[in-house]
C-alpha cells in the first residue's frame, strides 16, 4: 500500500546554468517532498570528461554543491529529499564535495546515495566485442568511423535505479546520465510502489517528468503570449502534485510569478517532441496523445488517463566525439547603410583570406546580419531591409585547426580597413574551438549493470 496519497515533486533546475533562485524559493516558500535538479545536456558530458581528464576530482556540476550549501539546513528541517543528475562523469567526486558541505553544517545522519552504470566510455571495446555495434541511429553508420575520436559515452538510465537509491533512506541522490523524466518518475515509483508492469502509471510519471524537466518553461517562461504572464521576474518553478492512480496536478507555490494553465503546460509537452504517441524511455513507451488535460483552479492543471506500452530492450546511448574546429566572431556596423556595409565587410573578409591562400567552402562559412532578420530568414519582416545598425556575425568551421584559426584573424582588421562605422570588437580575435559531434546509438539493457551506493559523514 502506498504510504501517502499525495506526493509533491518540484524541479528547480532545467539545465546547468539555470537560476539558483528557482530551487531556493521552491524549498523555502511552500510545502515540498522532493526537489529534482537537471544539470545535463548532451554537450555537458563531453565537457565534463575533459575537465576530469585535467583534474581527477572534477567532471560534475559544481553549481549543485553551491546550491546544497545554501539549502541543506532547510532540506533537513522540512524533510525534503533531493535527486540530481549533477554527478556528470564523476559522481563520486560530486558526492565527496557534498559530504564536505554536510560536515561544514554539522548535520548528522545525512545519507547520500550514488547511482552508477551510465558511463560506458571505458567499456566500449568490451561491449563491441560482445556484438554491440553502436550504429548511428540517424545515419546507420558504424561506430568505427569515429571510434578513435570518441570523448564520452553515456547510457540514459531509467527511473528504477533512482527508486532503489531512495529505498536506502538517502537524503540526496546523485546520478550521472539518465533520462530527464526519470528524476520525477523515480520518487513516484518509490512512494507509490509502482512496478515495471504498471505501464500506464510509469507513462503518467514520465509525462509529469517531461512537463517539469525544463523548469520554468511550463510555468509561463518562453510562452507565446508572454505579455499575459504575471511577474516573470518572480516566476515560480513547477511542482507536481501526484496521486497513486497516476493522475497529477501541475502547479507552483502560491504568491510566485508566472502562469500555469493548460496552454503553458501544453507548450512544454510539445517541446523536444518527436512522435507524441510513442515517447520512448527505458521504463516505458508513453503515449502523449492519450491523457486528458484540464484546468482545476488558478494555476492548477490536472492530467489523467495516461496510457503506456512496454519498454524496449535497449538503452539509448549518447556518444560524443571530436568533429573538427570552429570559430565565430562579431562586429557592430552602424548606419547609414548598415546592412550594405555589413555585406561589404563579409565579402572583404573572405576575399582577403582567399588572397592569402585560405579558401572556405560555403557550407563551412557562416554569415549573419543580426538586426536584419537572421532568425526568421526568408520570411518577410517589416524593417529588415534597412536596420539602423547590424551585428555582422561571421564564422568558419572545418577539420583543420590552422585554417579555422586563420579566419579568426581577419575580422577585427575591418575596423580600420573597411567601411566606416565598424565597432564592437571588444571580444577580440575569435579563436578556434573544438566541435563536439554526437553519436546517438542503442545498447542491449542486459549488458549494462547499474549500482547504488550509500555514503554518510559517519563512514
Amino acid at each position: 500500500m502506498p504510504s501517502k496519497d499525495k506526493v509533491l515533486i518540484a524541479n528547480g533546475q532545467g539545465f546547468w546554468g539555470d537560476s539558483i533562485l528557482g530551487p531556493v524559493r521552491l524549498v523555502e516558500e511552500g510545502p515540498l517532498d522532493y526537489l529534482t535538479l537537471d544539470y545535463l545536456a548532451e554537450v555537458t558530458m563531453s565537457i565534463m570528461q575533459k575537465l576530469r581528464a585535467r583534474k581527477p576530482d572534477m567532471g560534475y556540476a559544481t553549481d549543485f554543491v553551491q546550491l546544497i550549501d545554501r539549502i541543506l539546513p532547510t532540506l533537513v528541517e522540512r524533510d525534503i529529499r533531493v535527486i540530481a543528475n549533477a554527478g556528470g562523469v564523476n559522481p563520486h567526486a560530486c558526492k565527496d564535495a557534498i559530504l564536505k558541505v554536510v560536515k561544514k553544517h554539522g548535520l548528522e545522519g545525512v545519507k547520500i546515495a550514488v547511482v552508477e552504470g551510465d558511463d560506458i566510455l571505458d567499456d566500449l571495446d568490451d561491449l563491441c566485442a560482445k556484438g554491440e555495434e553502436f550504429l548511428n541511429m540517424d545515419t546507420g553508420e558504424p561506430l568505427s568511423s569515429v571510434r578513435d575520436r570518441v570523448t564520452s559515452a553515456n547510457v540514459y538510465l531509467g527511473a528504477f535505479p533512482i527508486a532503489e537509491a531512495l529505498e536506502t533512506g538517502a537524503r540526496i541522490v546523485i546520478t550521472g546520465r539518465g533520462t530527464d523524466p526519470g528524476l520525477v518518475l523515480g520518487p513516484l515509483i518509490h512512494e507509490f510502489g509502482w512496478g515495471r508492469e504498471d505501464l500506464d502509471l510509469l507513462a503518467a510519471g514520465t509525462v509529469a517528468g517531461h512537463i517539469v524537466e525544463c523548469g520554468a518553461q511550463c510555468t509561463g517562461g518562453n510562452y507565446t503570449d508572454w505579455q499575459r504572464v504575471p511577474d516573470l521576474a518572480r516566476i515560480g518553478y513547477p511542482i507536481i502534485e501526484a496521486s497513486p492512480d497516476g493522475s497529477f496536478v501541475v502547479t507552483k507555490h502560491e504568491g510566485t510569478g508566472g502562469l500555469v494553465d493548460p496552454s503553458t503546460v501544453v507548450h512544454q509537452l510539445a517541446y523536444e517532441m518527436g512522435d507524441p504517441a510513442n515517447y520512448i524511455t527505458p521504463d516505458v513507451c508513453a503515449d502523449f496523445t492519450s491523457f486528458k488535460l484540464e484546468s482545476v483552479g488558478e494555476n492548477r492543471v490536472r492530467i489523467s488517463g495516461t496510457r503506456g506500452a512496454p519498454a524496449t530492450d535497449t538503452y539509448k546511448v549518447s556518444l560524443s566525439y571530436h568533429d573538427g574546429w570552429k570559430a565565430v566572431g562579431q562586429l557592430t556596423v552602424s548606419g547609414p547603410d548598415a546592412l550594405a556595409k555589413a555585406r561589404a565587410c563579409s565579402e572583404i573578409v573572405w576575399e582577403r583570406l582567399r588572397l592569402d591562400g585560405f579558401e572556405y567552402p560555403q557550407e563551412q562559412r557562416l554569415v549573419e546580419y543580426i538586426g536584419a532578420n537572421t532568425c526568421h530568414a526568408g520570411i518577410p519582416v517589416p524593417g529588415a531591409d534597412d536596420p539602423a545598425e547590424v551585428i555582422l556575425r561571421l564564422g568558419a568551421k572545418g577539420p583543420n585547426k590552422e585554417q579555422v584559426g586563420r579566419f579568426g584573424m581577419e575580422l577585427v582588421p575591418l575596423v580600420t580597413s573597411g567601411p566606416p562605422g565598424v565597432t564592437g570588437f571588444a571580444g577580440g580575435r575569435p579563436k578556434a574551438t573544438e566541435i563536439i559531434g554526437f553519436w546517438p546509438a542503442l545498447v542491449s539493457k542486459d549488458l549494462i549493470p547499474t549500482r547504488v551506493e550509500v555514503f554518510s559523514t559517519e563512514d
Binding site: Q227, H267, A270
Partner: protein, 133 residues
C-alpha cells in the same frame, strides 16, 4: 476570406532535436485546431521555412492537446556544437512559423478568442495575396 497571421489562431514553441528542430503548434480553439489540421500541412510549413530548413518536414498530431508537431529535419546548420548559427537550437523557429499568413474562415476566427497581446494576431486586411508569393 480574412487573412491573418498564424499567431491569431495558434501558439507555438520550438527547440532542437538532433540536427533539426521541432515546432509544436497549439490551436487556440477546437475550431482553430480543426482548421489547422486540414490546412497547416507539411508542404505549407516546408515552403514557409525553406531558408531555415535544408531538410524535409514531418508532421505529427495530438488531438488531446490541440497540437500539431512539425519536425524540421535539417534546420540548425549542423547539430550539437557543430552549428555556427546564432539560433543553434531552433528556439526562434516557432515564432517564425507564427508569422505565416493564412486565409482563415470568419467562423473559425469568431470561435477563437484573440489572446495574443502583442498585435501579432491582428487582422491583416491590407496584405494582398501576391505580396506573399
Amino acid at each position: 476570406m480574412p487573412r491573418v497571421k498564424l499567431a491569431r489562431i495558434a501558439q507555438a514553441r520550438s527547440g532542437d532535436k538532433g540536427e533539426g528542430s521541432n515546432i509544436g503548434v497549439i490551436g487556440r480553439s477546437e475550431a482553430a485546431y480543426a482548421f489547422l489540421k486540414e490546412h497547416l500541412t507539411e508542404e505549407v510549413v516546408q515552403r514557409h521555412t525553406e531558408r531555415i530548413n535544408a531538410g524535409g518536414v514531418k508532421r505529427y498530431s495530438a488531438d488531446n492537446m490541440r497540437v500539431l508537431n512539425f519536425l524540421l529535419e535539417d534546420s540548425l546548420g549542423g547539430g550539437g556544437s557543430a552549428s555556427l548559427r546564432t539560433d543553434a537550437q531552433g528556439k526562434t523557429h516557432g515564432l517564425a512559423l507564427l508569422r505565416l499568413v493564412l486565409e482563415v474562415p470568419q467562423a473559425v476566427l469568431d470561435a477563437t478568442p484573440d489572446d495574443s497581446r502583442d498585435g501579432s494576431g491582428e487582422l491583416l486586411e491590407t496584405v494582398a495575396v501576391d505580396d506573399e508569393e
